[in-house]
Symmetry: C2
Subunit: 292 residues, 2 copies
């Protein structure tokens, strides 16, 4: 068991930030947890519900003395927030990371901000979540119960010590830390298995319900599961998709091509090709190990 | 509590047939349950595991004295099996139904077979299932635990007594019986909320994994849920989709159109339109009540 971080500061009190605060204390990943939020009602809520040891709308106060700082805001807000952070008197050895679903644009913008600072930036992506958002949905076991993969995206300037320290932190939180990969590789992989399914769940929902929502009465578990994430926050996902646009586009083009092929098979009612199409998908889907 | 069927005969020992046999006994929907299977090893398995009171590969033997006969085979096999059944000396008042995911073609082919028989056909579709198939996956609570909708599809010739009797049977099994609808209406509705999601789960799987399956390592609950049903049996689904082809085609065309619109939004990176697209899907998806 690695030694806990003396002081973890989390910026952003959403589902991930709140769950991380709870997990860090409950699983011994940090001795002290402070939270920063933009609005005073969020701070009151955090303190009333004992979600962190301290909380403040003042960035300097919330991060003072922090050894590990985690940005847990929407990705499009991170650059401005990190620039503010870089202007503060950070201590040597302070490690800064984030929980963003996109890594290329985030790392490209955030890493240079700390080039002349005693602090260092190293990107993380703990792949836990829910179609629910906000701190009210926060749970200490969010990461552990989902056996969440966590991807760290070091660059040429990352020190092995920082990398090991951050790996140990996420493991203590309850994540399954994958081998590190480049920010670009990360973005290509999650475009396929996270961002594309998000968009496809929306397409399925629209095609199923838009002409007549009353068909919902006939729906079962198949519809429920294939479309669950379409309930996700549109603003949050607009940010993610915009930031990872270049990796998502080829994945959506592939989906459009496969759906076009399927449509052709159905137009001509070619049963042999249809069964082949379904079998190809089944074979690939069966590569995923059963839920642990 | 309605009186149980004196003798239920189930034709086809798959996931649904097996689960129905178990549920009928456990929930008091039938006093006696017999099963028909094509192959002797299935019969041996049924008897060894006490899944039914009796079992036979002989259709006459398996259905002799049955008051309710349920066809639980793939839909494309039902017409030939029903024709065989119609040639047997059935008693007056024998009710014959099925569990097929398609009703138009099934009802159109099966109902006339019993026009000059003392037995009557009335279509059912209990919407329970799993990506698993076969009697090994059978469970007495398959219907009840999923709060499964069950749709009955009476026609002009259906007697209200038969309809009430079959409604009571499926309710005792644990289904949520919906208001009856015509076979054609049924097929249109399930094309949207069951058959379309099945195909979309396959398209998502292919687009996500076909070029490089190793991206699976980055997948989380979103990918798992949106693609779960792509593991379904390709032969079974080829039958269903072929039979309900005319209702599925417009649904798949709609999906192709929505995906084309999304692709255009992404090509031009129109954030306002993207958020509007995601919000439309979210609003529709939120019409589905939370899992009970």
């Amino acid at each position: 068991m690695p030694s806990p971080e003396p002081h973890l500061a989390i910026l952003g009190p959403g589902l991930l930030g709140g769950s991380l605060a709870l997990a860090a204390k409950q699983r011994g990943a940090a001795n002290r947890v402070s939270l920063w939020a933009r609005r005073q009602p969020s701070i009151d809520h955090i303190l009333q519900n004992h979600l962190a040891d301290s909380a403040s709308t003042d960035l300097a106060e919330a991060t003072s003395g922090a050894t590990l700082i985690v940005l847990a805001t929407p990705v499009e807000i991170m650059p401005a927030l990190a620039a503010q952070l870089a202007s503060l008197p950070l201590s040597a050895g302070t490690l800064i990371t984030d929980v963003g679903s996109v890594k290329g644009s985030v790392v490209r913008q955030l890493e240079p901000l700390f080039a002349n600072s005693p602090a260092t930036f190293l990107g993380s992506h703990p792949m836990a979540g829910s179609e629910k958002t906000g701190i009210d949905a926060a749970r200490a076991d969010l990461f552990h119960s989902q056996n969440a993969a966590c991807i760290l995206t070091p660059t040429d300037t990352t020190s092995p010590i920082d990398l090991d320290r951050l790996i140990a932190f996420w493991q203590t939180i309850g994540c399954r830390v994958l081998p590190p990969m480049s920010p670009e590789r990360h973005d290509q992989e999650v475009a396929r298995v996270s961002h594309l399914p998000q968009l496809m769940a929306c397409v399925t929902t629209l095609a199923a319900l838009q002409s007549d929502p009353s068909v919902l009465r006939c729906s079962g578990n198949g519809f429920r599961d294939t479309t669950r994430i379409a309930s996700g926050d549109p603003a949050l996902w607009t940010g993610i998709i915009t930031q990872n646009h270049s990796a998502i586009l080829p994945a959506v083009r592939d989906a459009h091509r496969h759906l076009g092929e399927l449509l052709e098979i159905l137009e001509t009612l070619d049963e042999v090709k249809l069964q082949h199409f379904l079998t190809s998908a089944q074979t690939l889907r069966n590569l995923l190990p059963p839920k642990p």
